[in-house]
């Protein structure tokens, strides 16, 4: 085993403030050791015609100038024939690169897209045409860096399952180009309660939007809350109390059946019903409510199916976490 001195980031210290850290008792870098080719992770398979015969090996991420992170991967064609990468890993403007790779910050729940050069192209390297049988090529992509101190990120490509926990090491190299930062997009987690409350949650790092099914909260065409609604509203009220938010937005929506003349006022009245019920239950004094009816103008699902229509009939309660 060879140990080289140089730029490894701080040896792993268990100072993470996110809970749920598994009780692994192994030595710090055990999970993060690269193999003899410098790779730390390998694709399981790919969603291409080559399947497992297209292999992607990922190296540790490198922090450049404290501002950007470089992803470096090797793409190998282990099939018996030639393979042209083209837009396997990229958009059509940046063919033969890995411009469609992204980095996920699991702590911040966000997704980093690639940095761009001044002409709008990906700050990436490009492969030279076709990969012959058995041939490999290295691809690199630059991304905006995560918050200082972030130890690892997840790498995604369109054709492989994600590579979790790729460590970030400091690099002494500098960016050679002028570039603009890629976008950092919040990720939304969507979950549905299948236990009969008709509640779905859409959650980002900062905000929770609770979708409550109108079919559960109200009788047909009514804006009076049913008795089933009590427990559901109570639960939402307690979550509002526990949040740091001072504003709660309540919005009513309908599906696209019927007319705006009916749907618009109905959605507004339903939002107001939910708002009154919440206001009664929420114990914090400093919470203000805003209500709005959107009618059928803002569907969250396909109105061409029954399932979609049902989901569109909803009242949403949104607040900062």
């Amino acid at each position: 085993m060879i140990v080289l001195v140089g730029c490894v980031i701080n040896p792993e210290d268990e100072s993470g403030d996110d809970g749920g850290d598994p009780d692994s008792s192994e030595d710090p870098p055990q999970e993060e050791q690269t193999d003899e080719r410098g790779f730390i992770a390998t694709s399981y398979t790919t969603s291409t015609q080559l399947g497992v015969n297209l292999e992607i090996n990922v190296r540790p991420l490198e922090l450049i100038d404290g501002e950007a992170v470089k992803l470096s991967m090797e793409v190998s064609n282990t099939s018996d024939g030639g393979y042209s990468l083209r837009d396997a890993l990229s958009d059509t403007d940046n063919m033969h690169s890995a411009s469609s790779a992204t980095l996920i910050d699991a702590e911040e729940q966000s997704r980093h897209l690639n940095n761009e050069l001044d002409d709008g192209s990906c700050y990436c390297t490009f492969a030279d045409g076709e990969l012959a049988a058995g041939e490999s090529t290295d691809l690199e992509v630059m991304f905006p860096a995560p918050p200082e101190g972030t130890e690892s990120m997840t790498v995604t490509t369109p054709i492989t399952s994600p590579f979790f926990d790729i460590p970030i090491v400091e690099s002494s190299e500098s960016a050679g180009e002028e570039y603009t930062d890629g976008e950092i997009l919040p990720l939304t987690l969507i979950s549905d309660d299948e236990g009969g409350t008709g509640r779905s949650d859409q959650e980002t790092d900062e905000e929770l939007s609770i979708l409550l099914s109108s079919d559960v909260l109200f009788d047909l065409e009514s804006s009076d809350l049913t008795s089933d609604a009590d427990e559901i509203i109570e639960q939402v009220a307690s979550e509002i109390d526990q949040s740091s938010s001072d504003t709660v937005t309540v919005e009513g929506h309908t599906d696209n059946q019927g007319t705006d003349a009916v749907n618009d006022p109905l959605s507004e009245e339903r939002a107001e019903s939910v708002e009154s019920a919440l206001a009664e239950q929420v114990t914090r004094d400093d919470v203000t409510f805003e209500t709005e009816g959107h009618g059928s103008s803002d569907p969250v699902a396909d109105n061409d199916t029954e399932e979609g229509q049902e989901l569109n009939r909803r009242v949403t309660v949104t607040f900062e976490k």
Binding site: G6, Y44, S152, T154, P158, E173, G176, L187, D193, E194
Partner: protein, 177 residues
């Protein structure tokens, strides 16, 4: 402002490698074994006319270190005599993801009766298999198997999942860890 131009099409590296300081193992290759790619954690038969003769498999489940992300590698096997295209998997009955993704593939925690949809980014894109890649292979040849993936965020105390692929029986009791 001076703009530095480089022949980017032939750029091979983004700067010289100055840092190679990592523990390097002499053995223990990280590359995927053939064995690893044959894992089957559960199957679900096709239960509609368009999926007749197909079955879905859950092949691998991974969870990240902080426990909040779970990825599933799954595949569709074709036991019929014809090559087929899995175009119906792009259908999105609920939650309008933006683009052609297999976003209808969901994970259910049967202990809490909670259904998890794949992650969505702010552009509405699904963090899951889909044809944003020009080489995305939506076909399954006769006698073949095609591989796909989905990413979920699931509480760290969830131990098993049911994978639901539209058109197939649910694949139940898939262990996460």
């Amino acid at each position: 402002m001076m703009v530095v131009t480089v022949p980017k099409l032939r750029q091979k590296t983004l700067g010289a490698f100055a840092c190679t300081a990592l523990l390097i193992l002499a053995s223990g290759s990280a590359s995927a074994d053939e064995n690893e790619n044959e894992g089957i954690l559960g199957t679900g038969e096709g239960n509609e006319s368009r999926s007749d003769g197909l079955h879905a498999e859950a092949n691998r489940v991974e969870r990240n270190e902080s426990g909040n992300l779970v990825s599933v590698d799954w595949s569709i096997a074709n036991e019929t005599d014809s090559d087929l295209a899995l175009t119906w998997l792009y259908e999105q009955e609920t939650y309008t993801y933006n683009g052609n993704f297999y976003s209808g593939v969901t994970a259910v925690d049967s202990e809490t009766d909670t259904r998890y949809h794949p992650l969505m980014d702010q552009a509405g894109e699904c963090v899951c298999a889909g044809n944003i890649s020009g080489q995305f292979y939506e076909r399954v040849v006769s006698g073949g198997k095609s591989a796909y993936w989905s990413l979920f965020s699931v509480p760290s105390d969830v131990e098993t999942l049911t994978l639901e692929v539209p058109g197939f029986e649910p694949i139940e009791d898939i262990p996460i860890d």
